[in-house]
Each structure stands twice: as structure tokens, then as C-alpha cells.
């Protein structure tokens, strides 16, 4: 254990450099630069809001906040898992030439997405302020679903990174699955209609929705956690991380022979 910790400390600076590089290069050539991190979710929210609120004539002053909370969390999960999945392949040049602990690659992908996610929370604060959402003491509870989301993204990212080395086409399958997941997360609709039609189980088995639910509870509704959602999402998060670390660790020496 101590050996791993020492190794991590030695390559901590590399992790930092890789995260920095990801974020820096993403926006280097655009005029607006980092502002895109804020603009993109905002525009995205506007589209969903126009479509699902105006066209469907649903009237709810807080609907934009509702959309944005769901949108930001699903966006982070899909962005992080996708880039973690590709990380071994995109860094194959480096992996073949120099020794670096391999988990650095998926970890840095997830973390750079996390930094962008944290920055884009500014948009949420802005929109919430404009729409007069009153923050309560429960707002501090939002840190729990956020941390669980980070853990879950890393767990799934590690599993996918390992599998994608051996099965290249998994990238497309995961993309399709993420679309499905997005629709099952009640981002732009209220779950009540779906529940009424007898499909409550969709939300019960969806850990990402559980996290969004608790996130909304704390930041929008000024409530505590939904206990089922909290326990279920925590179990999935830590479970996926344990499986992810195990699968990755068991297979990492074979990566180089397959990329």
C-alpha cells in the first residue's frame, strides 16, 4: 500500500500537468476560451427549455434550473466516462515508450472533466439567482451527490478504459447507452408522468438519476436527501470504483500488447 502511495506522490505532478493540458488545449484556439465552459451548458439549457417548456406549454418558473441541474450532471458523467474510455488509446504513444502508472490517464481525463463541471456550476448559480431560487442550509448537502458522481464516473471510467483496449467498438455502444441513460434521467421532464404510467423502477435502478434527484433536492428545493436514492447511488458509486480498480489493475500489463 505504501509503495502505491509513494508512486502516486511521485507522479502527482504529472497528473496535475495532464489535467491542465486537457483544459488548456481544449480552448486554446477559440476566441472565447474558457467562457465556452459556461456558455455551452447555458445555450443547451435554453434549447431544452424552449422546446419542452414553450412548445409543450408547461409553465413553471423554475424549469430552467430543473433542466440545468440534470443537464450538468449527465453531461459530466458522459464526458468523463467517454474520455476516460479513450484515454489509454489516445495515450498509446506514451504508454509504449515510457513508464508511467497507467491509471494516471483515465484519472486525469475524469478530473479535467470534473474541473470543467465545477466551473460550469457558476452558470447554475447565475440562473438560480436570476430566477430567485432561495438557497437554504441544505445547499451544502449538494457536495455529497457531487462527490458520489465523481466516484461513479471514475469507477465506470476505469472499467470502460480497460474494456475499450480489448474491444475498440465499445466506444460506439457506450455512446448509444449514454443517450438512453440521458432520456432515463428526467432531465427535461418531470418523473411524475412516467411514475403514473407504472415505470417508477426506471428511476429506482438508475444511479445517475438518484444523484440528480438529491442534487435537486439540496440546491433547488431546499430539502434533505431522499434516503433510498442516497444509499443506492452510494452503493453503485463505491461498487463501481472497487470493480473498476480491480479490473484495471488486473489487466493493465496487457494494455501495451493490445494497443
Amino acid at each position: 500500500m505504501k509503495k502505491y502511495l509513494n508512486n502516486f506522490m511521485k507522479y502527482r505532478f504529472l497528473l496535475q500537468e495532464l489535467v491542465k493540458k486537457d483544459i488548456k488545449l481544449k480552448y486554446r484556439r477559440s476566441v472565447l476560451g474558457l467562457v465556452w465552459t459556461l456558455l455551452e451548458p447555458l445555450l443547451n439549457m435554453l434549447v431544452l427549455w424552449v422546446v419542452f417548456s414553450k412548445l409543450y406549454a408547461k409553465d413553471d418558473a423554475l424549469f430552467p434550473v430543473y433542466i440545468l441541474t440534470g443537464r450538468l450532471m449527465t453531461q459530466f458523467f458522459s464526458g468523463a466516462t467517454k474520455s476516460a474510455m479513450k484515454s489509454i488509446r489516445t495515450n498509446s504513444g506514451m504508454i509504449k515508450k515510457v513508464y508511467v502508472p497507467k491509471y494516471i490517464y483515465p484519472l486525469s481525463s475524469v478530473l479535467s472533466n470534473f474541473v470543467t463541471f465545477l466551473l460550469s456550476l457558476i452558470v447554475l448559480v447565475g440562473v438560480a439567482a436570476v430566477l430567485h431560487v432561495k438557497p437554504t442550509i441544505y445547499v451544502f448537502g449538494a457536495i455529497v451527490p457531487i462527490v458520489l458522481l465523481l466516484i461513479m464516473s471514475l469507477g465506470f471510467g476505469l472499467i470502460l478504459a480497460t474494456l475499450a483496449v480489448f474491444f475498440r467498438d465499445l466506444e460506439y455502444l457506450w455512446g448509444v447507452f449514454l443517450t438512453l441513460l440521458f432520456y432515463a434521467c428526467a432531465v427535461f421532464y418531470y418523473p411524475s408522468r412516467v411514475i403514473k404510467n407504472g415505470f417508477e423502477w426506471i428511476f429506482k435502478v438508475n444511479p445517475l438519476y438518484c444523484l440528480i434527484q438529491n442534487f435537486r433536492n439540496t440546491v433547488m428545493y431546499g430539502q434533505g436527501f431522499d434516503m433510498y436514492a442516497l444509499v443506492f447511488s452510494a452503493v453503485i458509486s463505491f461498487g463501481s470504483l472497487i470493480i473498476g480498480v480491480y479490473v484495471f489493475y488486473k489487466n493493465q500489463d496487457k494494455f501495451i500488447l493490445n494497443i
Partner: protein
Amino acid sequence: MGKKNVALKVENVSMRFNLSAEKVDDLKDYVIKFIKRELRFQEFWALRNVSFELQKGERLGILGFNGAGKSTLLKVIAGVLKPTEGSVKKKGKIVPLLELGAGFDKQYTGAENIYLYGAVLGYSKEFIREKYDEIVEFSELGDFINVPLKNYSSGMKARLGFAIATVVEPDILILDEVLSVGDAKFRKKSEKKIRDMFDRGVTVLFVSHSLEQVKRLCDKAILLDHGKVLAEGSVEEVSKLYEQRMK
């Protein structure tokens, strides 16, 4: 020579590759091949039971024809490849001058790449900051240090890579056909830097096709053929054997 001075110990190292005629690396192919029972794996041993030991300060030349497993052996020692069997024990800081600039980013400037590549090699931030000027000076890049790497010539990239990789004081140095970086002037400078390291008693692993170079630089040698160690001993003996086999 006591046991204490062993700098590198390679024990029964074997390395297996899978050389399938067609590589199966997606799910669709895998399922189809699995159903048709066409999943074949062809084994290839690039290294077989390679063992040797180096005392601190010894300089080992690795001889062998193309495909003998020289580069694979260096990669195993550098830690890039994990051996299928056996183990490598090394003491101290190892600097592999194998692929200079692995980890360079084209869009980054030279200055940014110093930090990035330094981090790849496992240096700390403070260390790089401290050595930054030395690296820039040695690489002779001048104002180009603030230009993105994609605008560099290959010689410039190689110089920067060499300058970053050699800024540390290694205990074990791995050289693969090196000393051919940049123009004549820079080559002289880089040779001198490596010679200085030799003088300080660094342990060296050196791969080259040039027998003359190996004889000049090394005191011990091994001869590899098809992944096996054919001979081990002083550089004179082994190179004599190598010359015989060349005929």
C-alpha cells in the same frame, strides 16, 4: 565486489507476445470469431530466460542481430513492458534515453513541454523549475522555447528531449543507438555530457549495431539471439563471437 554493489539484476526474464495474423480488437469480430471457433492465438517469445547481473559502474553492451530481442529487453528493464515471467531488480534512478520526447505535446510550447515531459519522467515541479534555465540553455533553442512544438524541426525536438532527459543524475543509463542527436556541434556536446556521466560511475546499458562503438564504450557484453542469451562476458570475448557469427 560485494553483493551490495549490484545495480541491476535481471532474473529469468521471458516476454511473450501474441502474434495473431489478424488482430481481434473489437467486440463484433470477437463474437463472430468466437462463434465460428476461429479465435487463434499465436505465441511468440521475444525473450527467453534472460538473466544477468550488473555491478555498479559496469557498462554492458547488448549485441545481436535485428529481431534478437534487444529493444524488448531494454523496454523491460525500463519498466515499459512487464515481463511475462521473471523479474528485474534495479537500484537507483534509471534514465532511459530510448525514445526522446515521448509525451511531448505538439500544441504546447517548448517551455510548457519542459514541464510536461519532465512530469512524464517523474520529476517534481520544484526540480524542473530549478533546472529550467539549464535545460533551455543546453537545448540551444533560444527564443524558440516559446513557440509551439509543431513548428520545431526534428532536430530541435530531439535536442529538447535530450536536454530534459539528461538533466538528472542517473544511476543507470539506458542508451539505444544514441549519440546521433542534432547537428555535429550538438552531437559533440551530447557525447560529452554522456561521457561525464560515465566518468561519474554510472551503470550503462548500451545497444548498438556498431561493434566499434560498443567496444569503445563498454567493458562487458551479452549476445542475444532469438531472445536467448548466447554469450556473456568481457566485451572482447563476446564481440569476437559476434564477429564470427556475422560471417
